[in-house]
């Protein structure tokens, strides 16, 4: 089920601009890996290369390797659409489809890929909403528009939508940054549950959040604006927060810059 990701010598470009340089790391299955670092250092960029969303941006280009359980995602014969079914993503701002009901939002990934069996869809909707801790709040209004939920509920709806296609890996780009503390807590609890089954990578600016939810933490940094961002170090979360091997990591964590 859950898969490990091995990144080696990854360079990421926006047109001619090299945004990230020389990233190599291993992301463990059934664990939460947090990406931290100052704004603009390329956390989102790296995250988006893990499901080939980077190339959706005009001029977006990648050099290097990303292996998912040994299979190179950037090999010639790999279909990016297939990769995205295996590696799901949750975005910073909740983005339910405005024309769809709650039910259809959750079922969207399956429906748009041709699943028509209603019983199967209903089953997946219920399972995914339960998995996203949203079922009890919305079970009586599944046919209401998804945009009518609160921000935190919408974000959990987006998580339900992402897990409905049963990915192996779940990428989350600052999933709580638009949410209040209570919704944030709900999502952190959810992440804790989800890591039993998925490989999870989460970008966050919230140190406490990284410390609370992650098993592994990667710290990214950049020397100066206009320079490519780099991975400084990746290690177990307790080591990164208590005893990092790099001075830059310690400075960042203790709030001495950034």
């Amino acid at each position: 089920m859950a898969k490990r990701i091995d990144v080696s010598d990854l360079d990421i470009f926006y047109g001619n601009f090299k945004a990230v340089e020389g990233v190599s790391m291993s992301i463990e299955p059934r664990a939460v890996t947090a990406f931290i670092g100052p704004s603009g250092c390329g956390k989102s960029t790296v995250l988006r290369t893990l499901n080939r969303m980077h190339e959706v941006i005009p001029g977006g280009r990648v050099e290097g390797k990303v292996l998912l359980d040994g299979q190179d995602l950037y090999a010639k014969d790999v279909d990016p659409v297939g990769v995205r079914r295996t590696v799901g993503m949750v975005f910073q701002r909740p983005n339910p489809f405005p024309t769809m009901t709650i039910r259809d939002n959750v079922a969207a990934g399956l429906k748009l890929n041709g699943v028509k069996n209603k019983a199967r869809l209903d089953e997946v909707v219920e399972k995914s909403l339960k998995g996203a801790n949203l079922w009890n709040e919305v079970k009586d209004r599944l046919d209401k528009p998804g945009a009518g939920l609160s921000g935190g509920q919408q974000q959990r709806l987006c998580i339900a939508r992402a897990i409905a296609v049963e990915p192996q890996v779940l990428l989350m780009d600052e999933p709580c940054s638009a949410l209040d503390p209570i919704s944030t807590l709900a999502i952190e609890d959810l992440i804790n549950d989800l890591k039993e089954r998925y490989t999870i990578v989460i970008v966050t600016h919230n140190m406490q959040q990284a410390a609370r939810v992650s098993d592994q933490t990667a710290f990214f940094n950049l020397k100066a604006t206009g320079q490519p961002g780099k991975l400084v170090e990746i290690d177990s979360t307790s080591r990164i927060f208590n005893n990092p091997s790099e001075k830059a990591t310690e400075d960042y964590i203790s709030g001495r810059f950034g």
């Binding site: 659409v81 995205r84 748009l112 939508r161 950034g258």
Partner: protein, 306 residues
């Protein structure tokens, strides 16, 4: 990352306390204000007066006829310029049929062109297409009519008929649909496209199942406004769609009445004849029809999701 330091050079003269001066409205500024207000209202009046004038004239001269139910049920068959009576149903039908067929041809072409330009178009070909649409926007309606006439009647030897009117109107409607649809597609947030891609939905499917439905009501608004615009066009009808007083619904052969050609029909008759009133009534009917389309268009935009 930038440390906030406290050693900005401070210009202390700015911080000196000064007496507040709130008194005495400046006379010059008040005058300018009055002049600008006056000019604005005058411009507004100049723009609105002719409009109201037209509406009132048309309503006064033609209003009594369209209040009669026969106006909406009878044609002009057998009615001469000197006789009262008859209706406009033949022309209303013709205008609606031709409008509908024009929309059926232009909407798919226009919407798909807009999808291409917004979602796929890159580089020189897309720029060329966009430029062509701009040119098409500027084509006078009589040129569109003559072009279709030259191609289908002169070159291919067809008889003039309703379908060619639709072709000419299509040329006029496509650019309107393309431009309005483009605007609506651009309003759909990129995040929705990315959300669909991240679920493993292919791009074309994303466009048809997520982007177009999100922009749907806006596209409908554009289509209705475009339709309202071409339904009042007259030049292509004069060239390609000969008038008849009878009800005719065959687009592919024979004459076919429309409201603009009906208005054109008896306009050289004496002002005192009954036919003259029917011209005003037909004009009023056309205005009401187009007003209705505009209202529907506005109504559709209320349901917009973007």
């Amino acid at each position: 990352m930038t440390a906030i330091t406290n050693d900005f050079p401070r210009d202390h003269s700015l911080a000196e306390p000064r007496d507040l001066d709130l008194g005495g409205k400046s006379g010059g500024r008040a005058l300018k204000n009055s002049i600008a207000t006056f000019v604005m209202w005058a411009a507004f009046a100049i723009a609105v007066i002719p409009l109201v004038w037209i509406l009132v004239t048309v309503a006064v001269k033609g209003g009594h006829l369209i209040l009669d139910s026969t106006w909406w049920t009878n044609s002009q068959q057998g009615v001469t310029a000197r006789r009262e009576g008859g209706g406009a149903v033949h022309a209303i039908q013709g205008t609606l049929i031709q409008g509908l067929v024009t929309a059926l041809i232009s909407v798919p072409i226009g919407v798909l062109t807009a999808v291409y330009l917004v979602e796929y178009g890159r580089g020189r070909f897309a720029r060329t297409v966009s430029f062509m649409v701009d040119i098409l926007t500027g084509v006078p309606s009589i040129v569109a009519g003559l072009f279709i006439y030259a191609v289908f009647v002169n070159a291919f030897g067809f008889q003039r008929s309703g379908i060619f009117v639709c072709f000419a109107l299509t040329l006029l409607m496509i650019p309107v649909v393309v431009r309005s649809t483009e605007e609506m597609l651009k309003l759909v947030p990129n995040e929705l496209r990315e959300a669909a891609y991240a679920l493993g939905v292919p791009k074309w499917k994303t466009i048809f199942s997520v982007v177009l439905p999100t922009a749907f009501s806006g596209i409908i608004t554009g289509v209705l406004l475009g339709l309202a615009r071409v339904m009042g066009e007259t030049a292509p009808l004069l060239i390609l769609g000969p008038y008849t007083k009878a009800i005719a619904t065959d687009l592919f052969g024979g004459n076919m009445a429309t409201l603009p050609t009906m208005i054109n029909q008896d306009r050289d008759q004496a002002v005192t004849l009954p036919a003259y009133d029917r011209i005003w009534a037909a004009a009023l009917t056309l205005i009401l029809l187009i007003l209705l389309l505009n209202l529907l268009g506005r109504l559709a935009s209320r349901f917009s999701k973007v």
